[in-house]
Symmetry: C2
Subunit: 422 residues, 2 copies
């Protein structure tokens, strides 16, 4: 058979009835991402989706993009009570409002696409239950890594128990800052300021640079990677705000960069661990080359070794393109099945594993307080001290307050928990 | 809400009835990948899939892996006539046999997972029609890039008309050879021999190194990227077997590597082009760092810019892990919808676009025969000549015989067909 290309181009071997299958959207929030979704739906001519109402707090606020006449409202009922609306897209920048909108919609059986990672990470068990009880769907691929389809791939493609580890740079803002520091020799303070000017970091940047943004993404990823939910307060999370010239110098001498890395990994057949921490990343690692505002995720499993996915992790349009993918998935009634939550012998979360870390400190009581299992290297000078040591992750959580002191900086030195021959 | 992790670990918020939903497989072929699938199903405890029969040509052949007693058969009816079997996995190393098995299964309404890219690329329009007519499914993600989920992502996640380009290193064997040449300074002949010894290249390696393997993958990718099928003979395809020290030297002087690259790209809103050709890849490109037997694919679109996916593109177990993903997708009755084939204003295939190429030749009639639109650089020596010029892709197809002469080597120098501001 040698069908000519022109014949095939003109035939339509598949014709699902899509013309009467149209997504009519009620949009909550019209900030950067909301405006991106509005723009992108104009470009995507075949999307079979239109926005019917946009609900905002203040309809008179000055905006760069002016939606069509009659679209804006400040009354949520215009969306909830419109029987034509078959999808709610929730892009509100306030976790409480976001929770109200999403749970109200799900209780009424209206499917939702949401980008509110903090809210989702805190309430995921309840949100899964609501989807189940009310036979509806909540999609949130945009909530993790902007335009990289991590959730969808973990849910659909890595839909088996061969997965060993998901690890990556999940926050674009902190990565941008570290990239300015390591690749452009800027001061941390200058780099942070530049990130804020470019709109990568919020005016209160602590969400990004203290690791919470990456943490929330990691919690969501873990549900789809291993079928287990772990609450934010049970996970060791440390950011980059205490980074100092001495740390940068140390990393450079080792030919490494410091990056803020989130990871979940099986530590045995029965258990897994997870944490967010700066890491000394060697040149040979895939994530070493993830620079600027990009995100990169490594998925490691038995039999397939490593997969690496890389793309823009921040910004209005990249995130909006991910929202568009979720919107279009609803054309085909797609929902997450959370299949791994029903697996037999799911691994259990543990913090009883040793991690190897670099710690820089000035107060010499720090190592004593932490009680390292093993100190591999100790370096004491008049300016500052550092050590390389092994310590149970549990103990880092118990002493997490130590790491908020500005003279203490911790970075993971990665070890393999499971290194099975592939 | 702060649900503790242990509570959630023990609850099962979703309980699809999977226990009586089991995949019972009839496997055709028990070579490297077939054996990989057999091994991997043992490891994936929650796969809900088992092999019922394995049909091979010669049941007495010596094999490294011995399947359980009673599984092997040389009678295809043992599979086709077993009403218990609800999935056929076809991993046969012969395109005609593969075509017979797949079409027979589809006509009987039995879903199929296949890894036979050459057969699928040649017969895809008919195979789509058969799926439609007989209300069944053919999945083939393993056919493109081994363990990288390219097809599934193009079909499901990049399910919109923002896509501009898919470009990548799709053949592990030729990439391994070029990697030995560029990164380890080996001779081409030595590198080829080493690839054969390691099992990356077949004893007849022309399929890999002449670009046909990449071509077949590109044809399949294009159906899922843009909704259009183009037959193999209509696509310019040139491999790496004529590479010479002079070409390697030229690339090195430019700080580039030569890689075998397959690409499909929109050249305007109305048209797209596609080809397989060696390319001079600059250091700044994502695919520059795709070395050894790895594959890497860049997906570029409006609004999301570039996504890069990277992983093992060859080998029994990585390919088998991709087959496993397709098997498990059938647990949820997944099928490709070929949605983009129904899009309005789909772009039309064209070869009426100019490409910029490097050509090395000894016979000085070569440039005259090709009739370049523009010659940018011309370099003549006693040993060999090269030029950089611009030429319509159509003319390369018309004169494709020229490139089989051992003294002629062509490499693409990439230009952007569409470079919209993202």
């Amino acid at each position: 058979m040698t069908a000519s290309s022109s014949n095939i181009n003109n035939s339509t071997p598949y014709s699902p009835n899509m013309t009467d299958n149209k997504i009519r959207i009620g949009l909550f929030g019209f900030g950067t991402v909301g405006q991106g979704v509005y723009q992108i739906l104009d470009k995507a001519k075949n999307s079979h989706a239109e926005i019917k109402h946009i609900c905002v707090r203040d309809i008179n606020k000055q905006r760069n993009i002016h939606p069509r006449e009659g679209l804006l409202t400040d009354n949520a009922s215009d969306i909830f009570d419109d029987p034509d609306i078959n999808l709610i897209v929730e892009l509100v920048d306030n976790a409480d409002a976001s929770y109200q909108i999403v749970t109200t919609a799900l209780r009424r059986g209206i499917p939702v696409v949401s980008g509110s990672k903090a809210m989702i990470a805190r309430h995921l068990p309840e949100l899964i239950e609501l989807q189940h009880t009310h036979h509806t769907a909540l999609l949130y691929d945009a909530s993790s890594c902007g335009s990289i389809p991590v959730i969808r791939n973990l849910e659909e493609y890595y839909d088996n128990d061969l997965l060993l580890e998901v690890k990556g740079i999940l926050n674009g803002s902190s990565n941008y800052i570290l990239s300015r520091v390591f690749d452009h020799g800027e001061d941390y303070a200058d780099a942070l300021h530049r990130a804020q000017t470019l709109g990568f970091a919020e005016s209160d940047p602590s969400f990004d640079i203290e690791g919470y943004d990456a943490l929330f993404k990691l919690i969501i990823i873990t549900v789809h990677a291993l079928g287990s939910y772990v609450a934010p307060e049970d996970i060791f999370t440390c950011g980059i705000s205490n980074i100092h010239d001495a740390d940068i110098q140390y990393a450079r001498e080792k030919g490494a960069k410091i990056k803020l890395v989130a990871q979940v990994a099986k530590v045995s057949d029965e258990a897994f661990t997870m944490f967010v921490m700066p890491e000394l990343v060697e040149k040979s690692k895939y994530i070493y080359s993830v620079d600027d505002e990009y995100n990169g995720v490594v998925i490691r499993g038995e039999c397939y070794d490593r997969q690496f996915m890389f793309g823009k992790g921040a910004g209005g349009l990249p995130t909006a393109s991910s929202i568009l993918s979720d919107i279009m998935a609803r054309l085909h009634h797609y929902r997450y099945e959370y299949k791994k939550m029903t697996y037999l012998d799911r691994p259990i979360y543990t913090t009883d594993i040793d991690v190897r870390v670099y710690i820089r400190y000035s107060d010499t009581d720090v190592p004593a307080a932490l009680q390292f299992n093993k100190i591999i290297e100790l370096h004491l000078t008049e300016q500052s001290n550092y050590l390389i040591g092994e310590i149970p992750l549990r103990r880092l959580i118990e002493h997490r307050d130590l790491f908020s002191a500005p003279d203490v900086f911790i970075a993971n030195i990665p070890v393999f928990f499971i290194d099975r021959d592939n």
